[in-house]
């Protein structure tokens, strides 16, 4: 626990780091990621960022076994989970995929209750323990008041919280989220990331999320992984990782990096060709940062 500075005493982080060893993942036999080694630290919030089609979602899907590995293995602590029975894996690693559609008519508490599946026996009876976990998950995500509402009636932000609650009800030490903020407006994005931060700090849950929004990733991640073309370009604390050279390398984006006025974490400000405060425009269209 010493290496988990933020986790409060008594939190139940026990699984260990989630590690990819020489992992290759691809579609139709064409690898998107080849021989990747990566360690996602236990009890921390890790954000994986990178340009479109860099393989960040593919990596997450491979780690969660939503997509088969071509080569390599995945370990959680000292346990090899590459060939673990799915149900057993589902008690260790929870995953929120990119798109989630709730069946018609299902109510919030029922949907969250489906997160208890990996803990239930062959006939899937709900025990009173399950009810306690479901309610706790609803409360942790701030949707307890909606417990008996149909999921279809909720707003996008509420619905995403309900899906997070379902993953929480799995009671896993690791939670993987694939672009959890994609369909949310900025208010709900921040709300959801605050929620994930709380979960990490209060429960010691290892959170790994693929994020699109670089500045939010830099603010909320303890550990940032920057990917480009299936490779890890840089990883570490956001303040160590994010600089103008890395942003240019990974995203091909000319940008200024300044301290975030709220959090002090690095904030990326794209340069672009137009709308500069001093009115200059690079004649060849390439950006020309002024001193």
């Amino acid at each position: 626990m010493i290496d988990v500075p933020h986790a409060p005493p008594g939190s139940r982080t026990s699984a260990g780091d989630l590690t990819a060893h020489g992992v290759s993942i691809g579609y139709d036999g064409r690898p998107v990621i080849e021989g990747l080694d990566l360690t996602l630290p236990q009890g921390r919030v890790t954000a994986v960022v990178g340009p479109n089609a860099c393989g960040k979602s593919t990596l997450l899907r491979g780690l969660a076994r939503l997509h088969p590995l071509i080569a390599g293995r995945v370990t959680l602590g000292d346990r090899d989970v590459t060939n673990l029975p799915r149900k057993e894996l589902a008690r260790l690693v929870g995953v929120l995929p990119q798109s989630s559609v709730a069946p018609d008519g299902v109510r919030v508490a029922e949907l969250v209750g489906r997160g208890r599946y990996p803990h239930q026996g062959w006939f899937g009876r709900h025990s009173s323990d399950d009810d306690v976990v479901v309610m706790r998950s609803l409360e942790a995500t701030g949707v307890a008041d909606l417990a008996d509402r149909p999921v279809a009636e909720l707003s996008g932000g509420q619905r995403q919280r309900v899906w997070v609650a379902m993953v929480l009800a799995q009671e896993t030490d690791v939670v993987l989220l694939d672009e959890p903020t994609t369909f949310l407006d900025v208010t709900h994005q921040v709300e959801l990331l605050d929620l994930l931060h709380d979960l990490n700090r209060e429960r010691g849950t290892t959170v790994v999320m693929v994020l699109h929004e670089l500045n939010l990733a830099a603010r909320y991640a303890d550990h940032l992984v920057v990917m480009c073309a299936g490779r890890v370009v840089a990883e570490g604390a956001p303040s160590d990782v994010i600089d103008e050279a890395t942003v240019l390398e990974a995203f091909g984006l000319d940008a200024k990096v300044v301290p975030d006025p709220v959090s002090g974490t690095p904030m990326i400000v794209p340069v672009g060709r137009h709308r500069r405060a001093d009115g200059t425009l690079a004649p060849d269209g390439s950006a020309e940062p002024r001193e």
């Binding site: 939503l66 929120l96 069946p103 029922e110 899937g124 417990a147």
Partner: protein, 342 residues
């Protein structure tokens, strides 16, 4: 107010609704069964008919009820239950209300198999049932083979299935057209479906088969909750999705084959019964048990209508279910578009 009790009370409400729905359908079945036993050329009062069921009454009453009417009512109930359950499994496992065995050609495959044995090999009885099973399973495997691309995709499965439905129907029509007329009349039952002539052994096979397969479904039903959330969620929750789909659909194919082998295809029951059931339960689940009940109710009602010409038509059961089912299919096609974005 927000406590684990909220979660439990929601479940209690669901159980109550389920009990209410099943109870109402059971009452409806009893009324329809009484009608089915009472109506007919030999007029019986409901009282005498019910007494005859338990073996009380004169020889004529007993003959009419035990030999003629009871088997017909039982066949309608059992076949309807099988089609309803099979349809519910297909639709929820493939997450598509159109993915019913009649649309997919599984039912046509069963008919084709039965008719092949009947006309082609000149066999009757159990061989015909076996033929239906082989036919349904063959079509299922073929759809599988053509629809499988690194996993089972619902839309492709349905489209390939529709193709095979046409193929099977065409082959069937060809076989009937080239058969001599008397045989073709017998074979018509296999193409349209009727519960009129199901007797002792066939009924026993249907009943026992249904119980065995329903027990299998009960054991596999736990996959339905996660599967309904989509493949990624289902895998994340610990379900081996491809294996779960294959196993569930195999049982569903067996149900279709069993029922088709006994009473013929009975169009649209497998499509409509689960839809009604889901509407009645409305919990986002597959409504398996209620589909059994709606299927049984539908077929029994359709057969009473068909047998006694209540709508001005006296026709095989399958014609009436088709008349009810076709408009529903059109409505589904018209409204499905906006809901199938996922």
């Amino acid at each position: 107010m927000s406590s684990p009790a909220t979660v439990a009370s929601l479940r209690t409400l669901r159980h109550r609704r389920l009990a209410l729905v099943l109870g109402s359908l059971a009452a409806l079945v009893v009324v329809l069964a009484a009608l089915g036993l009472t109506l007919g050329a030999a007029s019986l009062t409901p009282g005498r008919a019910l007494l005859a069921v338990v073996g009380v009454g004169d020889a004529g009453d007993l003959f009419v009820v035990h030999r003629l009417r009871l088997p017909r009512v039982a066949a309608a109930l059992l076949a309807g239950a099988a089609f309803g359950l099979a349809g519910a499994l297909f639709q929820s496992t493939l997450r598509n209300p159109l993915a019913s065995p009649d649309i997919l050609g599984i039912a046509s495959g069963a008919s084709l198999g039965a008719v092949t044995v009947l006309l082609g090999l000149g066999l009757t009885g159990a061989a015909v049932s076996a033929g239906a099973f082989v036919g349904a399973a063959t079509i299922a495997v073929l759809i599988w083979f053509f629809a499988w691309r690194q996993g089972l995709h619902s839309i492709r499965f349905v489209l390939v299935g529709v193709g095979f439905a046409y193929l099977a129907s065409s082959l069937l029509a060809w076989m009937l057209a080239s058969a001599d007329q008397r045989d073709a009349a017998t074979a018509l039952v296999w193409t349209v479906g009727s519960v009129a002539d199901v007797r002792g052994p066939a009924l026993t096979v249907l009943g026992v088969g249904l119980v065995v397969l329903a027990a299998a479904v009960a054991a596999l039903a736990r996959w339905q909750g996660p599967l309904a959330l989509g493949d990624d969620h289902a895998r994340g929750l610990g379900v081996a999705t491809d294996a779960a789909r294959v196993t569930t659909l195999l049982v569903a194919v067996a149900l279709v084959a069993l029922a088709t082998a006994t009473v013929g295809p009975l169009a649209f029951v497998a499509l409509v019964a689960p839809a009604i059931a889901r509407r009645l339960v409305d919990d986002g689940g597959p409504a398996l048990s209620v589909s059994v009940a709606t299927g049984a109710t539908l077929v029994l009602a359709a057969d009473i209508v068909a047998q006694h010409g209540l709508l001005g038509v006296s026709a095989p059961t399958g014609i009436v279910t088709g008349l009810v089912g076709a408009p529903y299919l059109l409505w589904l096609l018209a409204t499905h578009e906006r809901r199938s974005r996922a």
